[in-house]
C-alpha cells in the first residue's frame, strides 16, 4: 500500500526535497520561518535551512515578489509565499509587469524562474479576502504559467516541476484541500509535467472539465449520473496556463458534450476561454453548446448560508449535465 499523505504535507515535502536538491532554491514570505507558515506548510524548513533560505519577510507583498525577481536574475530559484491568494493583488504589478515581461523585454536573453505560492479558494469561512480564486488574472497575462493541483500527488509533483521551470509559475494551492485531500505522492525525482491534464474518470456521454476543489464535486455528480446510466468523463486540468487543449479535444471527440466547472466567478473565468477555444477549433465535434457551472459574479460571502448559495455543488452540476444531454 503506497504511502498516503495530505495535500498540505505533499507541498511541504516538495519544498524540502527541492531545497535539499538545489541550494539555489529558497522560500520567503510572511510567517514562513520559525512559525512554519500560517498553514504550517513550511514547518521545519527554517530549522533545517536557516534564516536566509526560509526567510520571514515584512508585510510587503510587492517587495516579496520584487526581491524574488532580483534573486532569480542571479541564478536563484525563489519560492515566494503569499499568505492568502487574495493578497496577491498587493504584489500584482511585480508579477504581471516585472516578472511576466522580463524575458520578452530582455530580447529573450533571460528568464525569470520564480514560483509564487498562493492559498486560494473558499468553503472555509474565509469571507471576501480569504476565499478568492484569482487564476484568471494570471492565465490572462502572457509570460506566466499557472497551476492548480487537486490531489497530493499533483500538489507535490507540480510544485517540484514549478520550481524547476525557468518561467514565473503561479502555484495555486486550494486551502479547502489542505487536509481533506489525502493520497500517494511521487517519490524521488518524479514530477508532474506542467501543461498536462489528468483524466479522473472515463466516460462517453459528456465531459466535465474542471480543476482544484471542484474535481471532487464533478466526481460526485458523475457518480449520481452513473446511477441514471450516464457515463461522465472528468478531466482535471491541473495546469491552467498553458491548459491541455489536446486532452480536452480528445475527450470532446468521444463525448461531443462539454461542461466546464470552476469555483472562480463566471465572467471571464477559465470556462469562457475553454468554450471559445472549443468553438473556434472543434465546432464540428460539438453536439451541444459548451455549458459552464461556476460561482456567480459575486464576492465571497462569509456567512455559511450565503457561501453555500454561491458555491457550485453536485446538484447544480447534474442539473447542467441533464440540460447538456437533452440537446
Amino acid at each position: 500500500m503506497a504511502r498516503e499523505i495530505s495535500y498540505l504535507d505533499a507541498i511541504r515535502e516538495a519544498l524540502f526535497e527541492e531545497m535539499r536538491r538545489d541550494d539555489k532554491v529558497f522560500v520567503l514570505g510572511e510567517d514562513v520561518g520559525a512559525y512554519g507558515g500560517a498553514f504550517g506548510i513550511t514547518k521545519g524548513l527554517h530549522d533545517e535551512f536557516g534564516e536566509y533560505r526560509c526567510l520571514d519577510t515584512p508585510i510587503s507583498e510587492s517587495c516579496i515578489i520584487g526581491v524574488s525577481v532580483g534573486a532569480s536574475l542571479r541564478g536563484y530559484r525563489p519560492v515566494a509565499e503569499m499568505q492568502f491568494g487574495d493578497f496577491i493583488t498587493c504584489g500584482f504589478d511585480q508579477i504581471v509587469n516585472q516578472a511576466a515581461t522580463l524575458r520578452y523585454r530582455y530580447g529573450g536573453r533571460v528568464s525569470c524562474p520564480i514560483v509564487v505560492r498562493a492559498p486560494v479558494g473558499g468553503n472555509v469561512a474565509g469571507g471576501l479576502y480569504h476565499s478568492q480564486n484569482p487564476e484568471s488574472w494570471f492565465v490572462h497575462r502572457p509570460g506566466l504559467k499557472v497551476v492548480a493541483p487537486s490531489t497530493p500527488w499533483d500538489a507535490k509533483g507540480l510544485l517540484k516541476a514549478a520550481i524547476r521551470d525557468d518561467n514565473p509559475v503561479i502555484y495555486l494551492e486550494h486551502k479547502y484541500l489542505y487536509r481533506r485531500a489525502k493520497g500517494p505522492v511521487p517519490e524521488g525525482d518524479e514530477i508532474v509535467p506542467i501543461g498536462q491534464a489528468a483524466v479522473r474518470r472515463e466516460g462517453r456521454h459528456a465531459t466535465v472539465v474542471t480543476y482544484a476543489a471542484m474535481v471532487a464535486v464533478a466526481l460526485e455528480a458523475a457518480d449520481r449520473m452513473a446511477g441514471e446510466g450516464v457515463e461522465v468523463e472528468v478531466i482535471d486540468l491541473r495546469t491552467l496556463a498553458p491548459w491541455d487543449k489536446d486532452a480536452v479535444f480528445a475527450s470532446l471527440e468521444k463525448t461531443s458534450r462539454v461542461l466546464v466547472l470552476h469555483e472562480d466567478v463566471k465572467t471571464l473565468g477559465l470556462g469562457a476561454e475553454i468554450a471559445a477555444t472549443i468553438m473556434e477549433e472543434r465546432f464540428d465535434d460539438l453536439d451541444a453548446p459548451v455549458l459552464r457551472v461556476t460561482y456567480p459574479d459575486s464576492h465571497c460571502p462569509f456567512s455559511h448560508v450565503l457561501e453555500q448559495q454561491n458555491l457550485p455543488n453536485a446538484d447544480r452540476v447534474t442539473e447542467s449535465l441533464r440540460r447538456l444531454l437533452a440537446y
Binding site: Y52, T57, P58, S60, S62, C63, I65, G66, V67, S68, V69, G70, A71, S72, L73, R74, Y76, P78, D93, Q94, N97, Q98, T101, R103, Y104, R105, Y106, G107, G108, R109, V110, S111, P142, G143, K145, D166, N167
Partner: protein, 327 residues
C-alpha cells in the same frame, strides 16, 4: 559612522579626464536623441537626462563589473558606463533588432545581467525591490559587491520604494539608494509630492543614513557614492544619497514644460555640471583646449558611429512580435 560626504577619495588626472569624457558622451548622446525625435527617426520613449549627467557619472564611475545598477528611465548614460556600446543603445532607442530588446521595448526597459545592469518597467520605483533581491544574494554569498538603485523624488513616494528601503534596512543590505531629486515629477512640483524638503530625511525612518548633496557636482556625487559604497561593501548596510538636480527638457521629449518658469530653468542651466567640471579641471591645469577638443572629437565620432549603426541595423523580425513569452 563618519559622514559619507567627507569620504576621502583620490582620482588621477587620467581618471578625471575619463569622467569628463563620460559627461560629454552622455550629454551628446541625449542631445542627439532629442534631434532624432524632432526628425521623427526615433519615435518616442526618450526621457532626456540632460542636466543630470553628474549623477550618472559620479555614481557609476569606478563600479566593479559584478556590481549591479538598477537605473531610472532618465539614466541612459549608466548603461554606457556599465559597458553597453553606444551603437547598441542607439539601436535600442531606434527599436531595431540589434537593440537590447530586439525592438520589443524602447529605452531602458531591458538589462544585461552579464554587465550588472537591470532594466526596469515603466512603473517607477518598481526597480527598488528587485535591487533589494540582487543585494540580498550578495549578502547571502558574503560577496563585497553592491547594488545601486536609482529613483526620482517622485518615485520615492511609491509603496515599492518604501517596502524596498524597509527591507534593505532590516537586512542591512549592500544597497545604495540614489535619489535624483529634480523637483518635478513630470509636471507635479515637489511641494505637491512631499511634505518635506529632503528625501534624504526619510532614511532615518528605515534605520540608515541619508545625505543630501549637490547633484550637479560630479565630484561631490562621486565622493558620497563611494562613501556609501564603502559602507555597503564593509557590511554596514544601505545609504540614501539624494542628489539635487534639474532636468533641462520636459519629462519626455513630447513634453514642453510650461509648468516651469524660464527664470528657474535659467538658474539651473547656469549650474550646468559640464562647464562646472571642466572649469575646475582647467583651474587645476588638468585640462586645456587641445585635450578638450580631443575629447569632443572622440565623442562626436562615437555618436555619429552609433547613429549609423542604428540606422543601418535591420528592423526586428515579425516573428519576434509575439514570441519569447516563456522559456
Amino acid at each position: 559612522m563618519p559622514s559619507i560626504k567627507r569620504y576621502k577619495f583620490k582620482l588621477s588626472t587620467e581618471q578625471l579626464l575619463e569622467m569628463l569624457y563620460w559627461l560629454k558622451l552622455i550629454r551628446s548622446f541625449d542631445e542627439r536623441l532629442s534631434i532624432l525625435v524632432r526628425q521623427g527617426r526615433v519615435r518616442s520613449g526618450v526621457y532626456s537626462g540632460i542636466g543630470q549627467e553628474a549623477i550618472v557619472v559620479g555614481t557609476c564611475y569606478g563600479l566593479r563589473p559584478e556590481d549591479y545598477i538598477c537605473p531610472l528611465h532618465r539614466d541612459l548614460g549608466t548603461f554606457l558606463m556599465k559597458g553597453v556600446s553606444p551603437g547598441v543603445m542607439m539601436a535600442q532607442m531606434y527599436a531595431k533588432a540589434t537593440g537590447l530588446s530586439k525592438g520589443r521595448d524602447s529605452a531602458l526597459h531591458s538589462g544585461v545581467p552579464e554587465l550588472g545592469i537591470f532594466g526596469n518597467t515603466s512603473m517607477l520605483g518598481a526597480n527598488t525591490p528587485v535591487a533589494a533581491g540582487l543585494a540580498l544574494t550578495f549578502k547571502v554569498e558574503q560577496r563585497d559587491n553592491v547594488v545601486l538603485a536609482y529613483f526620482g523624488e517622485g518615485a520615492s513616494n511609491t509603496g515599492d520604494v518604501h517596502e524596498a528601503m524597509n527591507f534593505a534596512g532590516v537586512h542591512k543590505l549592500p544597497l545604495v539608494f540614489i535619489c535624483e531629486n529634480n523637483i518635478y515629477s513630470y509636471s507635479v512640483p515637489i511641494e505637491k509630492s512631499m511634505a518635506i524638503e529632503d528625501v534624504a530625511d526619510r532614511a532615518g525612518g528605515y534605520g540608515f543614513d541619508g545625505v543630501s548633496i549637490n547633484g550637479n557636482d560630479v565630484l561631490a556625487v562621486y565622493q558620497s557614492t563611494q562613501g556609501a559604497i564603502a559602507r555597503a561593501r564593509a557590511g554596514d548596510g544601505p545609504t540614501l544619497v539624494e542628489c539635487k538636480t534639474y532636468r533641462w527638457h520636459g519629462h519626455s521629449e513630447h513634453d514642453k514644460p510650461f509648468y516651469r518658469t524660464t527664470d528657474e530653468e535659467a538658474m539651473w542651466k547656469a549650474r550646468d555640471p559640464l562647464p562646472t567640471f571642466s572649469a575646475y579641471l582647467r583651474s587645476q591645469s588638468l585640462l586645456n583646449d587641445d585635450i578638450m577638443m580631443g575629447i569632443e572629437e572622440r565623442v562626436r565620432t562615437e555618436i555619429d558611429a552609433a547613429v549609423k549603426f542604428a540606422e543601418d541595423s535591420p528592423e526586428p523580425s515579425p516573428a519576434d512580435a509575439a514570441s519569447d513569452m516563456l522559456a
